[in-house]
Symmetry: C2
Subunit: 675 residues, 2 copies
């Protein structure tokens, strides 16, 4: 029997929601679970699949289900089968398969000559609606591995150093890593405690290391022992209870999402090259079943963090699947009673994540499947506007914006700008699904909100948008947040742009941003206004500063004024700070979008622009994904060379105070321009 293109199918979104639940509860504090403080949603345990077929002759078909199943035809639900192999009668029929599974997602694999499980099938959770099935045709297409058996890949790594300590061993894996420890060649039997550390200090601090494992190991039963829980660490301290206990070697199964490294970057500045490499490694460690915020303590999926990861992904792995999984997981199921992650701004980033996904991948089909989810989340948001049409945090909402000393009560201008952008996304997607009525409403709402936001919060004297209005009183404090988003979204006129650049973004008297999270947008905004040189120096300084301290991955927060173990503290915990945090990897995006200078102009890079900027470097060379192809770029002070394998690329460059545009060849030849 041929397998054709059969793959596993399920209720759309349910596998992602199930997987999200699984990974979300793996967060632990010293072996104690720490589930997310937002609602975790569940898959439907009982679903029914449908496929209408026409056969000239009977066909033998094999059914494999994750769960209990029953097969019947044409609604004759009293005649059911659950044999693995059924001979389907010729003629026109509707094939129905009910699957039930409580623990894993009810999924189905059907294998026949012409009838097999594919995206042509429909599925229902018995709510009187039939939907196109969910699937991941690329990875989940083997009848031997059901969707619930999905695991990331692993690779065996060895440590760089092992030291004997007074009562055990201290091990260094050379850099931050993630996975399962393994002891080989064990002698003896003992309870063994392992203290994990992102830093050596943490691994040696038995009282305060955030992660630890206590296991019973018996070398007489099995000479190798693999730990069952994946952990983030660079160092481990291993302490057996019994002095007789020993082992020959220690290794770890490095666990990772197999992705392609589709981008490459090298420049005249070795420090910048190391920042790029470290960013890529940091980002890869956090790119897993979903985009995580951090891999040690956190291990949750946050919409604000993920929004940035989406953008970094387009300039590195260009993996659409992990974006889709993350968007689905974040949105969860109805009814919506709180914001995503309980944070107001995080609902809004979700819409913007959809917008960017469409822009960078052109994947209309996926975006369409989310339209229903978008509408209900937007309804939720719009219902929460105040009488003047502005959104503000209600009692149960967390208005985050950033970890900093800011007052987010009342009408926060940043929120209105994010909502306006979200409404633009809604309008765009509504058109795709031919919902023109809603499209025009969203468009009007977006325009009105944008106008009245700028009208209200713009302070002509201070040259920027003020942070918020509280209890009817417009506060005069300027922060960078609303200004940098408005810059990036093109909400300012040229005059406002210039003022904002000088009086806000480059003004040392305006409160500085301390998290790499918001530095992402800050530096992107500065590039938008041509401050590449400034941004390059900031990168070398800020990210370089972490490298100087021995960082092998980038951190959740970095304050150059701190010293020693102070760097490890956060959230009132000695080792609370994540030393491998996704938002630490933003140089990927800054270098890709603003130095190599590649950005899509039409969805999926059908048309795109390449505007390389040395920003003070002597030269750089790089490769970036553009849709289904790549673009290669070289630049030094004399010339730019560029070639591509996909889409309509246009090189934009500046010479003698003028701008020029040239088409980029896709036939393998290089376009070279002299500067």
């Amino acid at each position: 029997m041929t397998r054709n293109n059969a793959h596993w199918i399920w209720y759309p979104g349910d596998w992602e929601i199930w997987l999200h639940e699984q990974v979300s509860v793996r967060r632990e504090m010293r072996e104690v679970i720490f589930p997310p403080f937002w609602r975790l949603d569940q898959h439907y345990s009982s679903v029914i699949f449908s496929y209408k077929y026409e056969l000239n002759q009977p066909e033998e078909v094999r059914f494999i289900a994750d769960g209990q199943f029953s097969v019947y035809l044409d609604g004759k639900d009293n005649d059911r089968y659950h044999d693995e192999t059924v001979i389907l009668p010729a003629g026109e029929h509707e094939l129905l398969v009910a699957v039930y599974s409580k623990e894993s997602v009810p999924s189905l694999y059907v294998e026949g000559k012409t009838i097999f499980s594919s995206d042509q099938w429909k599925v229902s959770c018995y709510d009187k609606h039939w939907r196109q099935v969910g699937s991941w045709a690329k990875e989940l297409s083997s009848p031997e591995m059901s969707p619930s058996q999905y695991r990331l890949a692993t690779q065996l790594h060895s440590p760089t150093e092992v030291w004997d300590t007074e009562d055990g061993w201290l091990v260094d894996f050379g850099k931050e890593t993630f996975g399962y420890l393994q002891l080989n060649g064990i002698t003896g039997k003992s309870k063994v405690t392992v203290y994990y550390g992102e830093s050596k200090t943490e691994a040696q601090d038995r009282e305060h290391s955030v992660l630890l494992d206590q296991v019973n190991v018996d070398g007489t039963v099995d000479s190798n022992f693999t730990f069952t829980k994946s952990r983030a660490f660079r160092y481990v301290l291993i302490v057996p209870d019994s002095k007789e206990f020993t082992f020959e070697s220690i290794q770890m199964h490095y666990e990772y999402l197999p992705v392609q490294y589709r981008s490459h970057f090298r420049s005249s500045n070795e420090r910048l090259n190391k920042i790029w490499d470290t960013s890529m490694y940091t980002f890869h460690l956090n790119t897993r079943e979903f985009f995580f915020d951090g891999i040690k303590r956190d291990r949750w999926v946050w919409s604000g963090d993920a929004y940035q990861s989406f953008l970094m992904n387009y300039y590195s792995f260009y993996d659409p699947d992990v974006v889709k999984r993350t968007l689905i997981a974040l949105r969860g199921k109805d009814p919506i009673v709180t914001h995503i992650n309980t944070i107001l701004d995080y609902s809004l980033y979700w819409f913007n994540g959809i917008y960017d996904y469409y822009l960078y991948t052109g994947d209309v089909e996926f975006v369409k499947t989310q339209y229903e989810n978008m509408v209900s989340l937007m309804d939720f948001c719009l219902d929460r506007r105040n009488e003047e049409g502005f959104m503000e945090g209600k009692q149960e909402d967390w208005v985050f914006v950033d970890w900093s000393d800011i007052d987010n009560r009342g009408e926060v201008s940043t929120i209105q700008i994010l909502l306006s952008r979200s409404l633009e996304t809604m309008s765009l997607v509504a058109v795709m699904v031919d919902d023109h009525e809603r499209a025009s409403i969203y468009k009007r709402e977006a325009k009105e909100l944008r106008k009245k936001t700028i009208d209200l919060f713009w302070d002509a004297e201070k040259g920027g948008l003020v942070h918020h209005r509280y209890q009817g009183e417009l506060k005069d404090k300027i922060t960078k947040y609303p200004n940098m988003f408005a810059l990036m979204f093109g909400y300012f006129n040229d005059d406002q742009k210039n003022k904002v650049k000088e009086q806000v973004m480059l003004n040392p008297d305006v409160q500085a941003i301390k998290t790499p999270y918001m530095r992402f947008f800050e530096l992107a905004a500065l590039c938008e206004v041509g401050e590449h040189r400034f941004v390059l120096n900031e990168m070398l300084d800020y990210w370089g500063g972490m490298l100087d301290l021995g960082a092998t991955t980038f951190w959740e927060e970095y304050d150059p004024t701190q010293s020693g173990n102070e760097h490890y503290q956060m959230y009132d915990m000695k080792y609370g700070k994540s030393l491998c945090h996704a938002w630490g990897a933003s140089p990927i995006y800054l270098i890709g979008k603003y130095f190599l200078g590649v950005r899509p102009l039409k969805p999926g890079y059908e048309v795109y622009e390449v505007e390389p900027q040395l920003g003070g470097l002597e030269w750089f060379e790089g490769t970036l994904p553009v849709g289904n192809g790549e673009v290669d770029i070289y630049m030094d002070r004399e010339k730019i060379q560029v070639r591509s394998s996909f889409g309509k690329g246009e090189l934009k460059y500046h010479k003698d105070h003028s701008s020029y545009k040239k088409q980029i060849p896709t036939d393998g030849s290089w376009l070279e321009v002299q500067l």
Copy 2:
């Protein structure tokens, strides 16, 4: 350590929803699963419990959870414990316990001297709302048995006869039963097939018996074998593959919900007494984790069927818990996208079930917990009204009313009457929770709908309400359905009442009702207009007819014109008819409410009426539950004797064409009146 009154706690409704999911998927057709064709909802897998305490001195407290858990204080979520025993510090604190469980309901048991799990705790699914915990203090209060380990009781029963057949054994358990077969003293090893039958014919029909089990039994490993799946049957045919296989005896673990038989009835008519006993047994078999419709094939929870079971329960076991479980399970979770069981009328019965629960038990607390659920279901219903304010079936709705030859398209008058009654219930409960704004809206809507329904559908000439209006055209067909509901709900004036009685209810030209389901309401309505003698004869005839055919429990449908194996057919299946169906037990309600004549006038029998009616019998005696007490009644043609142990009971009786009322003593003495 004392246990105080600790009991298990969980997110309100989640244990019931989880249990409902478990039992719903136990339905099988010849070993193949047959899940419900409505959406099955899931429990929240991740919840958090909260309890605010004040202690003068530290207290040792023990934590037991169904699931993984972590304990922390005062929101300090980085300091977590999962030790079984924790010493809580003195002072004022908020104790927080997070519990995660995918397969079973996350539940918690806390045991300390003054701090223990009780209904004083709050719980959240992390949706920013804290709710009072769910619990079942009576049954689920042992730390040794978690809520997910809950099982019905069992009792070992032996068959009345065992016959050797050509290749196995045919066994008769003497009457319809439910449970797990057990083979004792097994010799040999074989695959064994068991064919179950509610009738002997079914058990012997290997091709068509609805239930069967195929198991591998090995007497050399264990001489006893208990089947793992509970089945409904009276007969079983046991066929081993191997001729060497044999056993000494067969028994069954009868599985049942432990309930109190709080009512009793005996009369001068032995046939009626047998009808009462058979009804009680039928009803008990269907009174399980929830009220089932039937125990063989069906095993699902249906709102229309349950609505009647609720009423029968008040006149038999008076068990509030199974009513509450059933109401919660039927309502399920948000969002509501279809009617309950996908049937329009079944959403409406749910509201009426709440009304009756309140009237019969006076349990305000439970009703209040359902208010939020009631509002959202009613919003769903009201949104589906047409322009004229009537409800009609939309494309995806099933408008059932009854198994009969009726046209339910368009505006069905029965539906409007049920909706009107539902709105009255909403108004009543809205007042309980001080939602006076909604209360007055519901009241107004109910009144308006009731008026315009009678105005539109009343046919003065035909003396009744016509069945429906379709595409703007009022159809002239009269059915009993709208008329009997309007009678029972008191929607008619005296003139209309008399007309309906003569021209509809007692009119042989009006389409007869064939299901015990609607006969329930029909006969109740006839009692409401004093036709006890007619109803008694109907009971003796219709239910007696089933007894004459050897019924040991009452059926889903009974057509006296059928003969032999025809009786077993339904749904195009040789044995599709349920021979033990809850709605077959309606004589419980008819005898209790209309012959013994007991009905609450104020919630929970605070005030009630006893109006015994012989209806042609020479005498009867009986006991019925009235709230926390009982009422005992004796009546013959000369006298009535009555006494009670609860509430303000009033005897209502008729003598010489006049009506009299007398207070019923509650001091143990009998009130006797001469007729």
